[in-house]
Symmetry: C2
Subunit: 144 residues, 2 copies
């Protein structure tokens, strides 16, 4: 059992929600992925023994209790990834050719700059920033 596994187990226990085999499979699959994953992708990776509807339900409760978070992509496809407290704050590199979405963690000083910018923007526009995401579209290493 990995650390992530244990942390998720604790979090769910605190809410009296069961950490079942299906939910565990989703978490482990996401923990090993380099970026957000859609229900269909998880279905392919985990194996078709777990029906799609169950995956969707697992993702729904995992999101509800702050374990995973959604990312909305092209063609109306929602991909999920582990929440920041499990995976760390990061941004996304989105390939306009193959559609892949990869995580990127900014060097601390740069992330600080972004954070400061977001704060400034908030006060500039009477908007209270809670979260931010720098999404960079372009061509990934395999598609150059």
């Amino acid at each position: 059992m990995t650390t992530t596994d244990r942390e998720v187990e604790n979090r769910l226990q605190q809410h009296q929600v069961r950490y079942t085999t299906g939910r565990r499979a989703v978490i482990n699959s996401l923990a090993g992925a380099p970026g957000p994953r859609s229900a269909a992708e998880l279905h392919a990776e985990i194996g078709t023994s777990v029906p799609l509807s169950s995956l969707y339900r697992s993702l729904t409760v995992l999101e509800e209790f702050g374990v995973v978070q959604p990312h909305f992509g092209a063609k109306g496809i929602t991909r999920y990834e582990l929440a920041e407290w499990l995976k760390g704050h990061h941004h996304h590199l989105i390939c306009i050719n193959c559609g892949s979405v990869d995580d990127i963690e900014l060097p601390h000083p740069i992330e600080q700059q972004v954070r400061a910018l977001v704060g400034d923007i908030g006060s500039m526009a009477s908007f209270m920033p809670i979260n931010h995401a720098l999404e960079i579209e372009g061509r990934c290493g395999s598609c150059l």
Copy 2:
């Protein structure tokens, strides 16, 4: 006829694509909106005389010729906005309470910083950045 209207007309003409009444309605609606709009929202604003399927088709060709660009949001809803060359480069303030998406244009020096960051990230990750979007989630003025 507005300037935007004329610019779109030229762009489409260059591609021998007709700038029809339906397409014109989409452009004018988007030109007057403070943020991206979904097909359903356009349908409501333009009037139900133009069927949804036609709106989708209009949006598809307008996107194909670089006149509008999509933004992917929660619940698999795609919203469109005028392309940057018509509307200017900007970012989005997304309200987690009411779901509204508003445009925000960064002061030039700040936008420069973001641009520089994106460039750095690209070389850091062997990724060729083409576009970037700083999406800020939080609570909008009406939902504070």
